[in-house]
């Protein structure tokens, strides 16, 4: 028997053998059988062969030897020793054939034989169709699993190379957001410490998605770091990166990248651009683009990159971003575009507020059901406006970052907070408790505040004063405020089935840190965790 699958329709028969009584046995479509004696042989029927249409409408077994049809498949079947073909039709669709060789008695198939075969085909066809569908679904499920696995790998690679913490510069507020699309793209950003207190800032985007893009992103990241240690010229760094990447770049891939070097003390910024989006600077006079052009990395050898220089005045904001932002679409397929972004930049807000507002504006534009098409990366720099913003404050360390509000990312938040405080000398047991509290609070923020949506970020801010570490986890409160009257978990009740097994989160947080406070302003909810840096008398 033959099962037909699109796009290749393959016909299998069975060769006659002396002790093998006709009719020929059932065969399965794959793998193509060997042509040894007694084994099945394969005949391909192209989708255009007239035999398919003929069998589709045939009312019963078809005498292949006597069939007058100009068909390569018929000729092939005759050569293969097929005498009779019984079409297997399920719900009007030809799903296979039962192929028989000549009877051993060398007599023709009788009308009784044909009736029996017709009945058999009518009963077998639906069952075979079910088996085909089960097999197709299993294939599809395996393919989905493979793609999911690839995406998980790509995400892991990507996350490995994103900075664990943001630069802590007096008079500057720096914030960053990275939101991966479902099919992870190749966005990246990086902050590189350079001699003289300067900071190298890279924002880039690899064409393509998935693991290949993530690998190229990882390679670009490493090259930029290495070259930044050898040169203090953004143009030279990009030119060298291009020279190294170009020979090894996979076909049809390239990297856009903006590389800037900031002098925090003076606000002077020098940058070069390899085909990336131009940064916006907002000053009291309006929003301007800092212009610099150049070919993307990896396209052709010997490229030179011009440098542009500017000064970021006190009170100014700078935005570096990837095209996932400007190329996002609303439900009517209209693109977010540069004019909207420029408009969103005109408002004067502090560094992390700018980032929040840009994301909010974007999500208002795309609507709630938006499936993010591409990675989105945003890096904002804010230079304090003189004495009012930050001056005179006690030296504290602050790190801020955002994570996509998707299940599982609490682990990312936990690891990044741990990395941010690793040098503070917090006793290991306290650090473990802080990590658990951060993980649990972030889980709640993801589950309730973001409702598990990757496009609704959770913001995490870590502040270290000389006495304590304070972690603020802010969500977008999509489910309203998390109730604070959740029942106290009781293991006796849980084991007796009188309380659900879950519900340990808030209890754990409160047990782990010195204090937990929840504040809400209607659109966001912030959980503030405080933990003394030194062991108290709490054991």
């Amino acid at each position: 028997m033959t099962a037909l699958t699109r796009p290749i329709r393959r016909l299998l028969g069975r060769r006659e053998t002396p002790d093998n009584a006709a009719p020929a046995a059932f065969t399965t479509p794959t793998p193509p059988a060997e042509t040894t004696d007694g084994a099945s042989i394969a005949v391909d029927i192209p989708a255009s062969d007239p035999l398919l249409a003929y069998l589709q409408t045939a009312s019963g077994p078809v005498d292949i030897a006597r069939l007058e049809l100009d068909s390569p498949a018929v000729r092939a079947m005759r050569e293969a020793g097929v005498a009779l073909v019984v079409p297997l039709v399920s719900q009007g669709e030809l799903i296979g054939t039962l192929n028989l060789g000549p009877r051993l008695s060398e007599q023709d198939y009788s009308s009784d034989d044909r009736r029996l075969l017709t009945t058999l085909a009518a009963q077998a066809a639906p069952a075979i169709r079910v088996a085909q569908l089960v097999r197709e679904q299993a294939h599809e499920a395996a393919e989905r699993e493979r793609l999911d696995q690839e995406m998980r790998v790509a995400t892991l690679i990507q996350q490995q190379f994103l900075p664990r913490e943001l630069p802590n510069l007096p008079q500057w507020q720096i914030a960053a957001y990275y939101g991966p699309a479902r099919a992870v793209g190749g966005d990246f950003y990086d902050f590189i410490e350079m001699p003289g207190g300067r900071i190298g800032i890279a924002v880039g985007d690899v064409t393509d998605k998935g693991v290949p893009a993530a690998l190229v992103m990882a390679r670009t990241h490493s090259i930029l770091r290495a070259e930044a240690s050898r040169s203090d010229s953004p143009g030279e760094i990009l030119a060298r990166a291009n020279a190294l990447l170009e020979p090894e770049m996979p076909a049809r891939m390239f990297v856009t990248c903006l590389f800037a070097i900031l002098e925090p003390g003076t606000g002077r910024i020098v940058m070069a651009n390899a085909g990336h989006n131009l940064p916006y600077i907002r000053t009291d006079d309006g929003v301007v683009e800092l212009r610099a052009t150049g070919m993307p990395l990896g396209l052709m050898p010997g490229i030179r990159y011009e440098e542009t220089e500017g000064v970021i005045a006190p009170g100014s904001n700078v935005l570096l971003y990837s095209d996932g932002l400007v190329e996002a679409h609303d439900p009517n397929q209209e693109m977010y575009g540069f004019p909207r972004l420029r408009e969103a930049m005109t408002v004067d807000d502090a560094g992390s507020e700018l980032l929040d507002r840009l994301l909010e504006t974007l999500h208002q534009f795309t609507g709630a059901d938006w499936e993010q098409e591409d990675d989105i990366t945003l890096v904002t720099l804010r230079r304090a406006s003189g004495v009012s913003d930050q001056a005179g404050e006690a030296p504290t360390m602050t790190t801020a970052f955002s994570i996509p509000g998707e299940e599982g990312n609490e682990r990312l938040a936990m690891d990044r907070v741990a990395a941010a405080v690793v040098d503070l000398g917090i006793p290991p047991a306290r650090l473990e408790r802080l990590k658990t509290a951060v993980s649990e609070a972030t889980m709640n923020a993801i589950e309730y505040g973001s409702q598990g949506r990757a496009d609704v970020p959770v913001d995490v801010e870590v502040e270290a004063t000389p006495e304590a570490v304070i972690v603020r986890i802010t969500d977008r409160a999509l489910s309203g405020a998390v109730p604070d009257d959740a029942e106290t978990p009781d293991i006796d009740l849980k084991l007796a089935g009188a309380q659900k097994a879950r519900g340990w989160g808030l209890f754990l947080i409160q047990s782990m840190v010195d204090s937990m406070d929840v504040t809400t302003d209607g659109t966001t909810q912030t959980v503030t965790l405080t933990m003394a840096r030194k062991e108290q008398t709490d054991g």
């Binding site: 599982g408 682990r411 047991a429 473990e432 889980m443 293991i491 084991l495 519900g503 209890f507």
Partner: protein, 110 residues
């Protein structure tokens, strides 16, 4: 620092069945843990040991999974003990009072 996939290996040793757990014990561990415990039930030991030696991360959902397993084991009259927990997670098992219902073994095994 990567999230690690959860695994559970069930082995029969004298007097008990041991579940060697590995990876992250969180919501994603649900099915694997439940399937492993079904294998334990089929073996029908009087005691099951959960070996956490290769588990680096347990969150509140993971705690809930342990509670569920413990409840099932108690219904079946099976003793449960925990091996290989780090000091931090031993503390969490104490404050959640899981340790009132299962023996917590310090160190690798007993």
């Amino acid at each position: 620092m990567d999230e690690r996939h959860f695994g559970a290996e069930v082995t029969e040793i004298p007097d008990e069945v041991r579940m060697r757990l590995s990876g992250d014990l969180n919501a994603r561990a649900d099915e694997t843990l439940a399937a492993a415990y079904e294998r334990v039930v089929a073996l029908g030991p009087r005691r099951v040991s959960l070996d956490f030696g290769n588990v680096g991360y347990i969150n509140s959902t993971g705690i809930a999974l342990v509670v569920r397993l413990l409840a099932e084991a108690r219904r079946d009259g099976r003793a449960v003990r925990a091996i290989g927990l780090t000091e931090h997670y031993r503390e969490i098992f104490r404050i959640t009072r899981l340790s009132d219902f299962m023996e917590i073994v310090e160190g690798d095994a007993a």
